[in-house]
Every structure is written in C-alpha cells, then in structure tokens.
Point group: C2
Chain length 132, copies 2
DNA sequence: CAGCAACATAGACGAGTGTCGATGTGATGG
DNA sequence: CCATCACATCGACACTCGTCTATGTTGCTG
C-alpha cells in the first residue's frame, strides 16, 4: 500500500461512496500510468477533463491555496482578495474544481467552505508515475 | 535518490545541459508540491505552461504513445494514422510537447524521431505529491 | 537534375472559455 | 419585515487554440 503501488489500488476510488462523484476518481479508474500503454480516446478525454481544470493559473493557485491551508479548507472570501479577481470569477473557478472532483463544497451558514481532496492528487501523481 | 525524494533533487534538471531547455525542468525548479504552499502568479504560470501542453486529448494520447513505445521513441508517420488526424496537426502538437520539454526531437535522415523525457513525468508527479 | 517522400510552417476559421458587470438566492440582524 | 452580507448564476465580450488546407523545406533515389 505504499505510494508507489497507489496506481494499482486507486481504482477503488471511483467506487467508494465517501469520495466525490467527480472525475478525480475516474482518473485512476480509467487510466493506467501514461508510460504504461497508449491511451484510448475515451481515457484521454476523461483525464483531460481533470487536467483542464488545473491548467489555468487562477485555478491552480486556488487549488494550492486550499490544499496548503490548515485543515485544507477555505471560504470564498478568503480566496478573492489574494488573487485580485472578482467574487463571481472565483466562484466560477471553484465550481469547476468541484466538478472535477479536486475539492468539495461545504456550506455552513452564510459561508461556503471548500475543502481539499488529497486522494485526487494521489491519483494524478499515479498517472505521471515514470516507467518501471 | 528514491522516487520519493525526486522532488528535492529535481531542481538540478533545469541546470543539466543534456536535459531540454523546455519548461519541464522549470516545473521542479519553481514549484514545490501543490499542497506545500500557495503558488505565486509566476509559479502558476510556469506550471500551467506544461499542464496546458498535456490538457488536450490529442497531445495526451501522443505523449502516451511515445512513452509506451519500446525505446521511448516514434516518428511522425507512426503517430498520424492511429489518431486519425492530419500530418500537419500531429506535427503541430508534437512541437508543443517539445517546447514544453515533455519530449525531444531527433531528426535522422528524412524521419523525425520524437523521444520520451521520463524526468518530466517525475517532475510532474512530484508536483502532485500529497501532503506529508 | 528531376521527382518523390517525410516533415515543418503559414494562414484561416470556428469552437471553447476566462473574465467581467448585473442580478438572483438564502441566511443573519435589527 | 426590511436591510445587509456571502455567495451563486446569468449573459456578454474578447481572446486563445485545435484543426484544417496550402505551401515550403529537406533528404533520398534513379
């Protein structure tokens, strides 16, 4: 169960109920490591859906801000100012990250807290695991 | 020199002469793991330049086809047919992957062979290494 | 040298998307 | 009940980019 074998054990991610219904679970469920075998069109589309979510500077910074936070959660108000963008823009990007399964949303009162999903990073790292 | 410490040793990548001048080296040179600390705008831009290169189905499939090949190299003629795209389109995407430092180009005679750069995958995997 | 094959480059077009301002939706407080 | 705050949604605009056709470049061959 070491991190090096994560790629083999991760397909369970897509089936567990407590993991988000997003695409992060589907990464490991569909895709062997890149260097293992050529990707089919469907596998590529699935993986790309997640990669596109993080291939934007704003979203990548949002992701790192949430993941680096104590407890791995932050509300919108804490993320708007550091990036110098509008609140609707931040909300839009957060929704994309949620849909990709990279973070989760938890509304408590007036505030919406976005939380990290570390398993998603593990799945991504597994995809990029080098040959042998 | 284990894979788990690759993140720490990889900054050398950007300095070695035999590694491509692409952005793959810059990944590890600029960016700590995502979950370590919030990314600056510049760090995000650098990482995104590489992520955008692979966040396209065609390029992701090209990358996997090259990396999964024996010897880790392939010529354009071998990559055009399986994807069902035009030769100029394939050449275009290969150039993007080369510029990102994910593959290298080696022209031998009439053929152009594109080769894998495993260190680039290691650097990417390091970026997505989970907290602690 | 002529001709062909493999690949690169140039220009154009259409689809996708990051950002914005304006507005809608609940929850809280007086 | 009304005002306010935190956040989501909606349309619109500008820009990027994946793909194509057409053409240029280079190396091999008869």
């Amino acid at each position: 169960m070491a991190t090096t074998t994560a790629a083999a054990t991760l397909p369970v991610l897509g089936a567990t109920a407590d993991s988000p219904p997003g695409l992060a679970g589907a990464i490991s469920a569909c895709c062997t490591p890149l260097s293992r075998a050529p990707l089919s069109a469907e596998e590529a589309d699935t993986l790309v859906a997640v990669l596109k979510a993080i291939a934007v500077p704003t979203r990548l910074r949002l992701l790192s801000m949430i993941y680096a936070r104590d407890g791995g959660e932050a509300c919108v108000c804490e993320l708007t100012e550091p990036l110098g963008l509008t609140q609707p823009t931040i909300s839009h990007h957060l929704k994309v990250l949620v849909d990709a399964g990279l973070i989760t949303r938890d509304k408590r009162g007036v505030w919406a807290y976005y939380r990290a999903v570390p398993e998603a990073l593990v799945a991504l790292a597994a995809v990029f695991s080098p040959p042998q």
